[in-house]
């Protein structure tokens, strides 16, 4: 486990170390008409998230009289990838919407708002691998900005195995390289609770443990960036 985190020489195509994420940036309150919104950038992947609600849920039969429900919509904009993406939902985006919902649901508490819905819309403006992780990270900030009660912020990052080495935050080239294993994971950093863990490729049990450990460290870093972005929104004095 320690081996993976040890600082190593540049071993990746873009000169990063194995435990080094791409440059990150977060901003809260970017969409004025939404109840909460956020942007998260990691490398050239950019995700926008907007939260609306709690509001009345239609269709009515989906209303839960015990607590509010969460609805997530993830989509990539047609210009976010090199070859134009056909707009509208796809098998892939429906799946990612579902895993995003599951990743965020355990962090939020909607007991106070029965019969209502909180809608989360995640749009990928630029895609360069790790979009679902960037989306979850942005959505969790947007939920906090919308004043939704939460147990903790959710941070997500992808880890993987490239050429037999465990690395964090794969970019598109690394992800597409033959034999690469991609593991998106999301954490609630305070208690290191996992809310998302997917796996695409082959990996041994020992390596998976290493990868999750590396993801945990990465998510700690991301959660600090999230905290900073949320606090910064209210810090500046607006001088006309």
């Amino acid at each position: 486990m320690v081996q993976a985190r040890k600082t190593e020489k540049a071993e990746r195509s873009d000169g990063r170390k194995l435990n080094e994420t791409r440059k990150m940036e977060a901003k809260v309150g970017i969409i004025k008409r939404a109840d909460g919104s956020a942007m998260f950038r990691i490398g050239t992947t950019v995700a926008l998230a907007a939260v609306y609600g709690p509001r009345e849920l239609f269709p009515g039969f989906m209303q839960n009289p015990e607590k509010g429900i969460l609805r997530c919509t993830y989509d990539m904009l047609s210009f976010s990838v090199t070859e134009r993406k056909r707009p509208g939902p796809s098998r892939r985006s429906v799946e990612i919407s579902l895993v995003t919902k599951n990743a965020l649901e355990s962090a939020i508490n909607l007991d106070q708002f029965p019969n209502t819905v909180v809608d989360v819309y995640i749009m990928i403006v630029q895609a360069d691998a790790g979009t679902r992780c960037a989306g979850i990270t942005a959505a969790s900030m947007a939920l906090a900005d919308a004043g939704i009660p939460m147990k903790d912020l959710v941070s997500a990052v992808s880890v993987g195995r490239i050429n037999g080495k465990i690395a964090i935050d794969l970019d598109k080239h690394e992800e597409d390289y033959e034999g690469t294993t991609d593991i998106p994971c999301a954490f609630m950093s305070r208690n290191n609770e996992i809310t998302l863990l997917q796996l695409d490729g082959d990996i041994s049990a020992e390596e998976l443990k290493q990868a999750v450990e590396l993801g945990k460290e990465g998510c700690k870093e991301i959660s600090e960036i999230q905290k900073k972005a949320l606090k910064e929104r209210y810090k500046e004095i607006k001088n006309e």
């Binding site: 109840d35 909460g36 609600g53 709690p54 509001r55 009345e56 009289p65 508490n109 106070q112 708002f113 029965p114 019969n115 209502t116 906090a144 900005d145 919308a146 004043g147 939704i148 009660p149 939460m150 147990k151 903790d152 912020l153 609630m188 950093s189 305070r190 999230q226 905290k227 949320l230 606090k231 209210y234 810090k235 004095i237 607006k238 006309e240």
Partner: protein, 234 residues
């Protein structure tokens, strides 16, 4: 061995540790986990005795019993009105609570309030999120004719009103406008001089922008004294 881990009035985010030890008691916006108290919303830490609260900085209006709100008549039924108060569900205003007059069953209810009318009303009862009852029997509760309405973030309303209404009375005194602040973030302003109305609007927006910063009253006082034309808000 209890200690507060953040300063009072510091901004905290969900999941942030606020205090350790059993001497403190978690209140609104916080929860206990083991012997720790953790914030559940983005807001400002407020300490009153042993109670730790986190006052939210953002978010939608959540109705509370006793709140005075400004709402728009959205629908008329057989025995009352449905009022849009900016929450997920509309509130009920029954015939009995709408006016001190006796309203006969056969009366055309639009005589009193019709679609689109704006009223100041008080929430008397809440159950779940669907049942919200309003009353219009009380001081200042009435139909609002004329004037203009602006919207601010509901969590900033207490700062606009100030302690015992100090802030809002200052604005009323200095601008000569009639103002009603709804807890749901709608503010009704009416005045004879359009410049004074604009000054009142600018002032309320300024309070909303700077609600979380200290020394607000002094700055607003200066702003009001400088008068109309000094603001460059777009």
């Amino acid at each position: 061995m209890s200690n507060l881990l953040v300063d009072e009035k510091e901004i905290v985010v969900p999941g942030e540790l606020v205090a350790e030890g059993m001497d403190y008691v978690p209140a609104v916006g916080t929860f206990r986990e083991g012997d720790k108290i953790i914030s559940s919303v983005l807001g400002l830490v407020n300490l009153s005795g042993r109670l730790i609260k986190v006052i939210p900085l953002s978010g939608r209006y959540i109705p509370k019993s006793g709140d005075v709100v400004i709402g728009k008549v959205a629908d008329i039924g057989f025995s009352g009105w449905r009022v849009d108060i900016g929450w997920a569900f509309e509130a009920n205003l029954s015939m009995k609570e709408a006016s001190s007059d006796f309203i006969d069953k056969k009366t055309d209810l639009t005589q009193y309030y019709t679609y689109g009318d704006v009223v100041a009303a008080q929430i008397t009862y809440i159950f779940g999120s669907k049942i919200i009852d309003l009353t219009m029997k009380g001081p200042g509760l009435r139909k609002l004719k004329g004037g203009r309405i602006i919207q601010i973030t509901p969590s900033k309303v207490p700062r606009v009103i100030g302690k015992q209404g100090s802030m809002i009375s200052m604005i009323k005194d200095k601008t000569g406008c009639r103002i009603i602040v709804g807890q749901n973030g709608l503010v009704w302003i009416q005045g004879e001089d359009s410049n004074q109305v604009i000054l009142a609007v600018d002032t309320i927006y300024k309070i909303e922008d700077e609600a979380h910063l200290s020394g607000l009253t002094e700055r607003i006082k200066e702003f009001l004294e400088a008068g109309h034309g000094s603001s460059k808000k777009d």
